[in-house]
């Protein structure tokens, strides 16, 4: 395997890990936003 493939493998491994960490963190962030700014129930008429 050449050094370009080795670098590509590293980019792929770190890129895929990075994207999962980002999206998992964003998931937690959305849950937090949902808790902090919940949708208020519509007043009953």
């Amino acid at each position: 395997m050449n050094s370009v493939f080795y670098s590509a493998f590293n980019v792929a491994a770190q890129g895929m890990t990075g994207i999962f960490i980002f999206m998992a963190s964003l998931y937690a962030l959305i849950l937090l936003i949902d808790k902090l700014f919940p949708q208020k129930a519509e007043p009953k008429k």
Partner: protein, 371 residues
């Protein structure tokens, strides 16, 4: 250049004739098959214009070269398109089902697999990364990354990215059927009525921009412009600007984007063996994106009591809303009472964020490994 009467006719090469036929094919696909006409038609026409011998449209004082320099080489056009896309996206389905964000991540697998495949085929790392990003299934991100790392490959990469996005309804179903059993495709998804507060929708684009900016600063302009467009949409006080971004801005930039990219579609740059590899690798990227999303959903189901229909994983690619529609239709074909659209749309919106983040991560990582 002073060519005299019929000079262009005498000076034409067979490669330029082939490129004109490529241009005509793109126009045909855009009009007859409705394959991403907003981009493939201007690109097809631009390809013809750029390959007329001694064409005044390209070259030092050519209008197409001018448009390329002011809009593509400094990344202005793709970024402005992101404002328009941001103004068109409704993030509320994603905020209702945030777990589906992870499918957006999994369905970027094709990008990274293709980077390795391209490196194995002899492309250097920057070129391999530019080819891999075709798998983002997101035209502006592909253009942005390719222009940074391999401007010489921008033409074939753009053609591949937009063509395969149009072909999502043909590419995805066989891969999904191959990787799932009928029992899995029949998994029912219950519809949970849930609404998202206006404040959450306003806070979301701001928080995502700050968060993405800290993790991958190279993605700041990409995700920032996307979220800026979305903030204009959601704030509720800029309706006129939101509509202008969704309509006039999107139309104007798209109008010149395709024809500017065609500047790179000259015969000597486009008609190479590498173009064939790029077109082939683009398809590989889309196939592995779909496989990545489906396999991740299946893996998740091992640990979940309440199973997720694995077809939804395939909607994690960024091609919006085609992919969500494909999954919804496939679900209905298996069981006419199983409505997957809401979940597939959430995954699809997650894919839109993930593809931009993938672009940003590649922009950060590749220069580091090129040192």
């Amino acid at each position: 250049m002073d060519t005299g009467l019929f000079g262009a006719l005498i000076g034409i090469t067979w490669k330029q004739i082939v490129m004109m036929l490529v241009g005509a094919t793109l126009i045909y696909l855009a009009i007859k098959k409705n394959y991403e006409p907003t981009l493939l038609l201007p690109m097809g026409f631009g390809a013809i214009l750029a390959n007329i011998p001694f064409s005044s449209a390209i070259g030092e004082h050519g209008i197409m070269t001018f448009l390329y320099n002011v809009g593509i080489s400094n990344e202005a056009f793709p970024l402005m398109i992101f404002i328009a896309i941001g103004a068109m996206i409704d993030f509320s389905p994603l905020l209702k089902n945030p777990i589906l964000l992870l499918f957006g991540a999994a369905a970027q697998f094709g990008i990274f697999f293709t980077i390795m495949a391209a490196a194995m085929l002899g492309f250097d790392l920057k070129e391999a990364a530019s080819i891999g990003i075709i798998g983002a299934a997101d035209g502006p991100t592909s253009i942005y990354v390719a222009n940074k790392f391999a401007p010489g490959l921008l033409g074939p990469i753009s053609v591949a990215a937009y063509s395969y996005m149009a072909l999502v309804p043909i590419i995805q179903p066989p891969i999904i059927r191959l990787l799932t059993s009928r029992k899995e495709r029949l998994i029912r998804m219950e519809i949970k009525p849930k609404s998202v507060s206006k404040t959450a929708l306003i806070v979301f684009p701001v928080v995502v921009t700050i968060f993405a900016g800290f993790i991958a600063p190279a993605s700041a302009s990409l995700i920032g412009f996307l979220m800026f467009g979305n903030l204009i949409r959601e704030c509720g006080v800029l309706n006129k600007l939101s509509l202008a971004a969704q309509n006039e801005l999107a139309s104007l930039i798209t109008l010149v984007l395709g024809i500017s990219i065609a500047t790179t579609m000259t015969a000597e740059k486009f008609l190479t063996e590498r173009t064939l590899f790029i077109i082939g690798l683009g398809l590989v990227a889309f196939i592995f994106d779909t496989a990545g999303g489906v396999m991740f959903a299946k893996a998740l189901n091992v640990f979940r009591k309440k199973k997720i229909n694995p077809m939804i994983g395939a909607a994690g690619i960024s091609a919006f809303p085609m992919s969500a529609r494909v999954i919804h239709k496939m679900g209905l074909k298996e069981d006419s009472t199983n409505f997957l659209l809401m979940y597939a749309t959430s995954a699809n919106v997650g894919g839109q964020i993930a593809s931009v983040i993938a672009g940003g991560l590649i922009l950060s990582l590749v220069p580091y490994f090129c040192k």
